[in-house]
């Protein structure tokens, strides 16, 4: 899609101190939640193993009360420092974040430092506010231990970079690490497209926006049914067929493939591109105007 206006999207532009702009998809609360839950699970599992070992050792040497105190300290440390230490050691990731493919960066796209990592994790307890008492649910005496996370949700809604309070204070964002594959010129399975491209008048200029649209169409057309290809291609192909004086039963899909061939293969002088994108072999003795699938025109 062209981006002449500011679109509502979860992508932000981050300009590094070297004045290089990167586009990152920022991770919102729902993208982050599975990573948080996974980290919670890892911590709980680790704590259970440690608790078992300490209880056994404490029971064996007869310092049961002491082991309880040690466990309380371990829980406290893991609760407050697990995220900070992991994000410092693993370059902005915890095991949960790594599994879910998200990473913490500074707002200028740099790796975060230890202070930022610890600070943003310290403030998580504020982001989880307001806490609810179990008493509200009629379960137990007042104990404010049920997080609603509404504060984080509201804060993240109110800014474009989905920053919670911890992120705002530390100057960090959480981005999605997605590897995007750059595809070359699409392969066209129908050799008639190249032949039809030769019939397109030489003075017809394929604009930049049309090139993008054609690339999008050819990239996605293999997922469409024949009828859907016809439906989508009709908008552009029909007036062009009329303009070029091609037979009215020319396949709309073939017409767009021919335009694509003309835009991305035939007009390119780059030898490598030609080699890579010419899957047709020698032109066969086929009628280029013949419709590949005869569908009655509406």
């Amino acid at each position: 899609m062209s981006s002449e206006m500011t679109q509502i999207d979860s992508t932000v532009e981050v300009v590094t101190p070297e004045n290089i702009a990167f586009h990152y998809q920022v991770a919102g609360p729902f993208r982050r939640l599975p990573a948080f839950l996974l980290d919670l699970l890892i911590r709980a599992a680790g704590f259970a193993v440690i608790a078992l070992v300490i209880s056994l050792v404490g029971g064996t040497i007869g310092v049961g009360g002491m082991s309880f105190a040690v466990l309380a300290i371990i829980w406290f440390l893991s609760d407050w420092f697990y995220g900070g230490i992991c994000e410092t050691m693993l370059n902005g990731q915890t095991p949960g974040k790594r599994t879910m493919g998200i990473r913490v960066l500074t707002v200028s796209g740099q790796p975060i430092n230890g202070v930022q990592a610890v600070m943003r994790n310290f403030l998580r307890s504020v982001d989880m506010m307001p806490m609810l008492s179990l008493e509200v649910m009629g379960l137990a005496a007042p104990a404010y231990i049920v997080p609603t996370c509404i504060l984080a949700l509201v804060t993240m809604t109110l800014n474009r970079r989905y920053q919670r309070l911890g992120d705002i204070v530390s100057g960090t964002i959480v981005v999605v690490e997605e590897r995007q594959w750059l595809t070359g010129v699409a392969k066209l399975e129908d050799s008639r497209a190249a032949q039809l491209a030769n019939y397109i008048p030489a003075d017809f200029v394929i604009t930049r926006s049309m090139s993008r649209s054609l690339a999008g169409y050819v990239d996605r057309r293999r997922f469409f049914s024949t009828a859907r290809r016809r439906e989508v291609a009709r908008h552009v192909a029909e007036p062009l067929i009329e303009r070029f004086g091609f037979p009215p039963d020319t396949s709309y899909d073939l017409m767009l493939c021919a335009l694509y061939y003309r835009a991305f293969v035939a007009d390119r002088t780059d030898e490598e591109a030609l080699d890579a994108a010419n899957p047709f072999g020698p032109p066969a003795a086929v009628q280029p105007f013949q419709s590949s699938v005869p569908i009655p025109k509406s």
Binding site: S10, M131, M210, V232, H235
Partner: protein, 303 residues
């Protein structure tokens, strides 16, 4: 209107990304979304209050029946939750129509949105009020004697069954509002080639039943958690303001439905973005928009 220059970025997304983007959409269009959602939800809130508000009228409760307070609260929360679950799509008709226009048009007029929806009202009444069980739910609750005992048959069997039917239908065919209000297909047609609402609904939903089911389960869980968190937030606010942490009947009467409706409004935005996503995945909608935009540009250059 430039078809390939949409206000919301049109591209494939997964469910969590859609949920995140919905927050952006809500922030950007908060005023019209609140207005249009209120227009849809407010009459239903009043109606629900008239239908079952008496259940929290504790003075009358003492006088007329012997349920203890917690049973009365459970009964009210149960009936209200089911009622809102059934009604939520109807409340979102104006917001859906607005969002549909907002994708392409810069600041659509709300008056036009209302006019468009009223034009489609017979189809909305048929699809939402009748087929999706809203009117039967109202009739069921109307049949419950006021200030009477808990009606096991009506409230514990028929109403939950109706809610299961409505929610089940919504899980597998969630985009009926979008089909009716944005695609504007006719309700019936003798012409077999004509795309009616039913045929279009089958066409768009049937290839994705498994995806829709999975998403529906996830969203149901999320809706429940959000509603609890939102209501908890109201309880917390009340506790801070008046130093009373007890969930009072007043809170249940007003704050509980409000929390549920707020979540319903958000879920409506999520549903709209899921609709766009489904059309992109299955119909290459973004490619079609580009093609139509190119066709418009060619036409304007008078080929």
């Amino acid at each position: 209107m430039q078809l390939d220059n949409t206000h919301i970025a049109v591209k494939e997304r997964n469910l969590v990304d859609i949920c995140d983007l919905s927050l952006h959409v809500m922030r950007h269009y908060w005023r019209p979304i609140v207005l249009t959602s209120l227009a849809g939800a407010l009459p239903l809130m009043v109606l629900n209050h008239l239908l079952i508000g008496w259940m929290m009228d504790l003075e009358f409760r003492d006088a007329f029946f012997y349920l203890d307070e917690s049973s009365a609260i459970t009964r009210y929360v149960w009936d209200m939750s089911l009622l809102i679950a059934i009604e939520a799509p109807l409340a979102s008709i104006f917001a859906t129509a607005y969002l549909g226009q907002a994708v392409f048009v810069d600041q659509p007029k709300i008056r036009d949105v209302f006019r468009d929806v009223f034009k489609m009202s017979p189809r909305v009444i048929w699809c939402q009020l009748l087929v999706r069980g809203i009117l039967p739910a109202w009739l069921l609750l109307l049949a419950v004697p006021r200030y009477g005992d808990f009606e096991v048959g009506l409230e514990a069997m028929l109403l939950p069954l109706l809610a299961m039917y409505a929610v089940g239908l919504r899980v597998f065919r969630p985009f009926i509002n979008e089909i009716v209000l944005l695609e504007r297909n006719p309700l019936i047609s003798r012409d077999r080639s004509m795309m009616t609402i039913g045929r279009r609904s089958t066409q768009i939903h049937a290839p994705s039943y498994s995806d829709l089911f999975t998403q529906g389960l996830g969203l149901s869980l999320m809706t429940f958690c959000l509603a609890v968190a939102m209501f908890g937030n109201f309880v917390f606010l009340k506790g801070v303001l008046v130093n009373s942490w007890k969930v009072s009947p007043f809170m249940l009467l007003y704050a509980f439905p409000l929390a549920c409706w707020m979540v319903a409004i958000y879920i409506n935005v999520v549903r709209f973005l899921r609709y766009l996503d489904l059309r992109i995945r299955h119909e290459g909608w973004e490619v079609e928009l580009r093609m139509r935009a190119e066709a418009n540009r060619m036409a304007s250059k008078s080929f």
